[in-house]
Structure formats: C-alpha cells, structure tokens
Symmetry: C2
C-alpha cells in the first residue's frame, strides 16, 4: 500500500508499507482527499521528532469498524487520540491527554496513505451536501474556530491576522463572522476574494501606528510574536497559532506593561467546522493551489513548500 | 528638601532638590511612609531609562490641593497619571494612557522625598483604622488583587506562585482568599506565618511532575516564565508579574501545544486594596524587614537589595 513516509531524513513514497493494525474502538478509513498543512512541512524538517506516515487533514470512507452504523460513512476526524484513562482525560481534557497519539504528528501514522486508522469516537460524519473539496478543510477550519472559543470577541473590536497563509486566511474568514473589521496582514494579497469585513494589507504597507484589540499570530515565523506584540492594544489579546520549531529571543516586558493576554491555540471542534461548511459561503475552493495523486505525494509536498502556495490536496484512490 | 534621586548612574540623597510644581488638578502630598519595591531597584540599574526621584509606594497627607474636602486627608495614590485626552483615556483605559506619567517610574518624580505631587483623582483616602504600616502596602497589594480581575479563579483550582519576594507573598495571600490551595515556591521559606491555604515549598524541593492550573510568575528573574510554563496544566494560565529588564530566549511552542494563556498583570484597584486592609487579617507587618528615615534613603535601597530581604520602609518627616 503506498504511503508518504518521513524516516527522519527525507520524505519518500513507500510502495508497500504495511498498514497499522486497527486497535480496539478504532475504524479503518480509506482516504478520499487529504490536505497538506504547514505542520507537515515542519515535521518533514524534524519538528517534534516524528517518524512515520505524514498527514492529518482528510476526508475518507469508513471501511472497517466495530459500530455497524458507521460502516461506509464519509467522515472527517479529530487528530488527537486520547487514552481515556489519564487524569486529563478524566477532567474532559481529551485533546490534551497525557498519553495521546496525534494523527500524523505524534506516535500514529497519518493520512497520506491508502488507508489509516482512528478511534471511532474521533470521527464526524460529513453531510452529503458538503463535497470532499470542502470537507478536507474541516480540521484547519476547526483550528480557526477554536479562537472564538478562547477570545470573547466583540463586533466592534479591531482584529488583525498576521500571516496570509492557509491558516491565516481561515482565521480571517472565521473572525469576520463576528468582527466588523479584520485586517489580514501578509505577503501575498489578492489570492482570495474575501467578505467585505476582511481587508488585506501587505505587511510592508501596514501603518506602524496601527493598533488592534485582537491579533492572531499565524505567520509560521519566529518573529511573529514580536510583531503581534507591537500591534496589540493594552489589555488586548494575541492568539498564538504558530508553533515555532526553535526557542528564540523575545522581550516580554510589553506583555506585562500593557497587560496583554498571549493565548496558545491549537485544535478546535470538528462539528463546528462541519456546520460552517454545510452552511456554505466560505470561499475555500479558492484556497486550493493544486491536487496530486498519492503516488505523486513527494511532488505535492514540494509544491506545498513553495512560497505563496496555498492548499495542496492529495487524492486517495477513492477521490 | 531632601530627595532620593537616580541621575542615570547612581542613587544619591539630594539635600536641596526643588519640589516639582503642583499642576492643575494635582495635590501636594507630604510623605508619611514609603515602601521600596523591586522595580525601584531595577530603575536604579537603568530600567526604563528613568531619571529623577524614585519611589511609588506611599501613604501621606494632602498638604495642598484644589478640592477643600481633600486637604489634610491621609491618602494612598494610584501611580498612573493619565492625560484624560487620548484615545485610550476616552475608552476608560486610563492606567494605559498613551501619554501617561508614572509616579517615580516614568516622567514624574516619585515619593522618596519630603513632598510630591499627584492628580487628586488618583488619591484614595485611608480609613482611620488602617495604620500607616499597613496603608503603605496598598499599591503592591492592589497589584496582587489585579490577578483576581484577570483570571476567573475557581476554589478547587491549584495555584502556584513562583517567587517568595514581597510581591509573590502578597499574591499568595490574595489568591488564598479564593483558592483552597496555593503553593508558594521560593528560596526563603519561613519568613511569614501564612493562612493554611498557602503552603511554602522551597524551589529545589518542588516535585518536577507537579502541575498547576494557575501559575503566578513573580520571581523577578528572566528564567521565571520558562519555569512557569513547565508547571502549568494544559488550558491553564500563567500570570506574568515580572518585567524583565532584557530580552531573553524562550521556547513558546508549549504555549500553543498546551493552549496556555500568558497574562501580563500590572497595577490594580487601590480601593480594593484598602478594603482588604480595613478588613484586616493579612499578616503584612511580618513583611517589614527594616525602616529608615529618608535621610538614610541610600542605605534603605542597599538593604532592600540584599538577598532575602522583604519590605524596607522609608519614613517621611510625618511618619
């Protein structure tokens, strides 16, 4: 079975990788469509020390499972696989389970292969009216909606999103649901037609005196937090979406003096994301830069790593 | 008039410093008692580039003012002097005024002198039953109570305070009002008799597997935030009280992965602090390490800078 594997040095297509056995309570899912995330590219540089099949954004079909009602369902899935036994799981913090594996990120093969396994409880059915090309965005869209759970955003608050990559664009789209004004600061304006609440501003054109109540740091760069702290109002919030692969030097005195909140933000609620996709109106298909069959997976990753390229999709045999 | 002045190189007692003229809406206050804060010691090393009379924790008597009802009142005072004209002031963010001066910290002579000026609107009367020795703690106590406005602390949440200096002790005392368990981590246990909710743990004895829902960083050290991030639970809060004088290297990936909130915290509500002092029960007099007359102010600062020394007080001519 073909699989896109990182062995610690490089990503290669293994033609005959043995699929992981299906554990108790797990389903086997055959890939329809997968998305390449910047985290995949970081993992392929050694981030988090992951080894195995990459990929965690997917839509697929359940081909084996213990719950008969689930068989054949078209699903997306939460990437955090909880032990359900540790103290954090017992407190309801399953996404932060102490012994978790994370699909294609930590201790569990990912979705860039013909089929893969996930706990059945992680799966969310995709309504018929949501095509694969939208459903594949459920995971990063959920990560964007997570911000609305963490920050009590008021309509008149000024919002900036730093970084107009895939995740930054999704954040801007979601925040524009609630805020009247979202400024998306990046290097590649003009790739997406946004709702009127979103104004794109090239990073070099941003007035350095501009200040925002909420700043989303989605640059993927280690300089992003310092830039966000320069832009945020006193008592404002900086939401950190970038996990930088290395420690870096920063002056945090402004956080104290201006009483800023810096809020780490990771995965969100897939059900929320699916509701948004079903409601329609998000211009996500404009984000798709290219599609590759799984057999050309290494080319897909190379393309995704080029500057300014948005979402690259990888097609399974079912797509 | 004697005053303790930092000239950019050293702190000296100037015997005949001309007092600042009283501006519109300002009162002149004669010092009864002042407290030395760690920030004063940082300023005396060049932090924030301040030049002038140090000191911002005080209780004193109003000796000149425009409001006749205020004349002769014994008062404490908020340190942030707002312009009342800028956009932030018009939004009610007067403590974060863009053009503010800060008593003994930025653009305004402080309280280590015979008399000084502050806007009348900054002053809070001290009830008769609160002696000078307690009232002088109003400003740092308000800074500690600020945490309760910023973190929605639940009684069963586990709280750690890193740093058992003056501010750390005040934070532990205030947080113990609401949380059943506050762990104070420091180098000098045993100096204060705490309420039973506060357990002192020497830093070297803390089990590295311990985790807390809320961690207050009050070490005054640039390594404090990294230590706090190691101790905080996923979805927990780290409250930053230390303004480190220099940028430093830190790995913020755990903030994102564990979805931690890092919250800068500075000044609080003096009325809240005075209410607590009036209610009694806080063992603040145990924090007083020494008292010096203003004429021995340089000795007071030297003493305050010795390791393990808690609050050093400076007596005005009215004390």
């Amino acid at each position: 079975m073909p699989a896109l594997v990182f062995d610690g040095r490089a990503v290669n297509l293994q033609k005959d990788r043995e699929p992981a056995p299906r554990g108790p309570g797990e389903a086997r899912i055959r890939l329809r469509l997968a998305g390449v995330c910047s985290t995949d590219l970081e993992l392929a540089k050694g981030y988090l020390g992951f080894r195995g099949v990459l990929g965690h954004e997917f839509v697929g079909d359940v081909v084996e499972c213990s719950d008969p009602a689930l068989l054949g369902a078209r699903v997306v899935g939460g990437i955090n696989c909880a032990c359900l036994a540790c103290d954090r799981c017992s407190q309801g913090l399953e996404r932060h389970c102490r012994a978790r594996t994370v699909l294609g990120i930590a201790g569990r093969d990912g979705v860039f292969q013909d089929s893969f396994t996930l706990p059945e409880r992680n799966l969310v059915r995709v309504p018929d009216r949501v095509p694969d090309e939208l459903a594949v965005f459920a995971e990063p869209l959920a990560a964007a909606t997570r911000i609305l759970e963490q920050v009590d955003l008021l309509p008149w608050q000024r919002v900036a999103v730093l970084g107009d990559g895939k995740l930054g664009i999704l954040c801007a789209l979601v925040l524009a649901e609630r805020a009247h004004s979202v400024t998306l600061v990046g290097r590649h304006p003009g790739r997406v037609r946004f709702p009127i609440a979103v104004q794109e501003v090239p990073a070099e054109s941003l007035d350095p005196r501009e200040r925002f109540d909420v700043v989303i740091e989605a640059t993927g760069s280690r300089d992003g937090l310092a830039a966000a702290l320069r832009l945020v109002n006193p008592l404002g919030a900086v939401v950190l979406k970038t996990t930088c692969a290395a420690p870096h030097e920063i002056d945090l005195a402004p956080v104290v003096i201006d009483e800023v909140r810096v809020i780490g933000s990771r995965c969100g609620d897939l059900n929320e994301a699916i509701k948004r996709l079903e409601a329609g109106g998000l211009p996500l298909q404009q984000l798709v830069a290219a599609r590759f069959p799984l057999a050309d997976g290494t080319a897909a990753l190379a393309r995704a790593g080029e500057p300014g390229v948005l979402k690259v999709l990888i097609e399974g045999s079912r797509s």
